[in-house]
Amino acid sequence: MAHDEVSGAETPASDSSAVETSRTASTSTAVIASDVANPGEPAHRQRVTDTDPQAAKRAQRSVYTLFYLSIAGSVFAVAAYMAFPIENDDVGSVRLNTLFMGIGIALALFGIGLGAVHWAKAIMYDKEGIDIRHPVRGTDETRARAVEIFHEADQESGFGRRTLIRNSLIGALIAFPLPGLVLFRGLAPQSEDPAMLLSHTMWKKGARLTLDPSGIPVKASDVTIGSVFHIIPEGLNEAPDRLEQKAKAAVLLMRLNPDDLNISPGRESWSYDGIVAYSKICTHVGCPVALYEQQTHHLLCPCHQSTFDVVNECQVIFGPAKRPLPQLPIEVDSEGYLVAQSDFNEPVGPSFWERS
């Protein structure tokens, strides 16, 4: 068994030219390698196709058959393109077009692939070759010349000597990308403050709760116990920034038995006879929390499984969210329609830095 310092003499199986001195004498690692001799390359084994001319012929036949099959596949794919056109309003024709073109193309590809590999494996001369490795580092001579070139360049330019020139250049190079960075401020509108926008939604006093997506207003009497209504604010469908507003204003409306609700002080007037409205946007990362279980009164987010308890003002009972879903204070107008008392009393949706 050979014990050798990595930083010292070579080990039997390693390349001596690649051995370098370790940084400090205290931290070199000893390597243990076997001193059993390398038996050299095993004898070349003949293939059936090398010894049996019949087999070689068969192999050749398979190879060109595969290539011909490939041509057939390509032709088939082109024929399929024409034979299985896509008819308007007929998705079944899409299926046929996709399937048969795909089969043709796959056949064309497999024909070439299998043929080429079979050719390489069975017919081409298969004796392995040897390449000699050289250390990746340049030879000492090359390295010396490289150092010399740098040195000459330094001398000729005065890069190392003329420090004022050099440092001012470095400063200029650091400064020059800054205008480019500033340009990217233009990615978002100049005059808007994101924290302000995120803190307000379309809901305002008197805004009717309407059905998503039709915009039909909802009466309190429509909402029976056990129901869930997906709600958008009145006028959302006409808003120029409909999707941005919807991403904040979407609401779930549910009616529970009023006795089941645990209402905290200050929120007594936010619901109407067991009808409660909560933001549908998860306080974790913003998916729509829409899976309502009418018996357990759980609201589940399908993205990260945050679970909110509707009877306890949508407190989190499971999952990564922390904050309860914001509640929309609602009341009933003179015609019996459900309306908002105000906007949400806190920003809806995912947390953000400026939120407090």
């Binding site: 084994r45 293939r47 059936v48 196709t49 998705v91 079944g92 899409v94 299926r95 996709t98 399937l99 590999v117 494996k121 069975a122 298969d126 059905l211 998503d212 997506p213 039709s214 915009g215 039909i216 207003p217 909802v218 009466k219 429509d222 909402v223 029976t224 116990i225 056990g226 129901s227 869930v228 209504f229 997906h230 469908n237 006409e238 409909r242 549910m254 729509p288 829409a290 899976l291 309502y292 279980e293 009418q294 018996q295 357990t296 759980h298 589940l300 399908p302 679970t307 499971f318």
Partner: protein, 264 residues
């Protein structure tokens, strides 16, 4: 219809009046249909006294242990007062009731009663106190507006049942079942009655036409398999990822092993 008007309005904001008008018409239509279904309830409740009596016997023998002799409910099962024929037809018709055992939710299984017996049970329960009736077959033909149905399905149903109706997980071991292959009647009744933890979608929330459209959409998906080929359970990226790893990469690794193996 309302949907189309919304699109129009988004480009022509002046037509708000039209939207409201159409909204009112649709709401009115909804009411009209609601009253027509109520009439249907009246019709069904007029089923022969004989049927109701047979239903009563079946109920006493199979359901009363949990739901009480007069539908008032017990510790083991909820009250059935006001659930209507639709709920009975759904629960019994899909084999969920009678339950095999208490669990997170009643499981679907082969129905225990014949169609006649189910109808009798439904008639009996509806006769004690009226509730949602078995839907009119005209709403179950799958001949509505699939676009409207698709949009409503995505907004009201897909979060639990998956956009393709493949089902999904709920809390504490419950799940929303797969909708493929479920009879149109049962889909309608489930929306109407909100079985177990499913919320109720009454006719003010989803009008009978809306429900018909949703059924139309689901039946369209059933009748038009994916143009892309095998759907891998319609489970989305998880199924696709597993398939790419196991079969895609698996096949390629098989080819690699063949390619580098020494030829005979």
């Amino acid at each position: 219809m309302a949907r189309t008007s919304r699109k129009a309005n988004r480009r022509h904001p002046l037509a708000t009046v039209l939207l409201i008008a159409i909204g009112l018409v649709v709401t009115g239509g909804g009411y009209a249909l609601l009253s027509s279904t109520t009439t249907a309830t009246a019709d069904t409740s007029a089923t022969s006294q004989e049927t109701i009596e047979e239903g009563q016997k079946l109920f006493a023998a199979n359901c009363a242990t949990c739901h009480g002799m007069s539908l008032e409910g017990t510790a083991d099962g909820p009250s059935l007062i006001g659930v209507g024929a639709a709920a009975v037809n759904f629960q019994v018709g899909t084999g969920r009731m009678p339950m095999a055992m208490q669990g997170p939710q009643a499981m679907q299984k082969p129905p225990q009663f014949t169609d006649e017996q189910t109808a009798a049970l439904a008639a009996y329960v509806a006769s004690i106190s009226p509730g949602p009736a078995i839907p009119d077959p005209s709403l179950l033909q799958g001949d509505g507006d699939a676009t409207n149905g698709g949009e409503l399905f995505r907004i009201n149903c897909a979060m639990c049942h998956n956009v393709h109706g493949a089902g999904g997980a709920l809390t504490e071991g419950k799940f929303a079942p797969e909708l493929t292959g479920v009879a149109a009647t049962h889909i309608y009744e489930a929306m109407l009655t909100g079985p177990q933890n499913m919320p109720v979608f009454n006719d003010d929330n989803l009008t009978p036409e809306d429900k018909r459209d949703i059924i139309t959409y689901l039946k369209y998906l059933e009748n038009n398999p994916s143009p892309g080929g095998v759907e891998l359970g319609s489970l989305g990226p998880v199924a696709e990822g597993l398939f790419a790893w196991i079969f895609g990469l698996g096949a390629i690794i098989g080819l690699m092993v063949w390619l580098t193996a020494k030829s005979n």
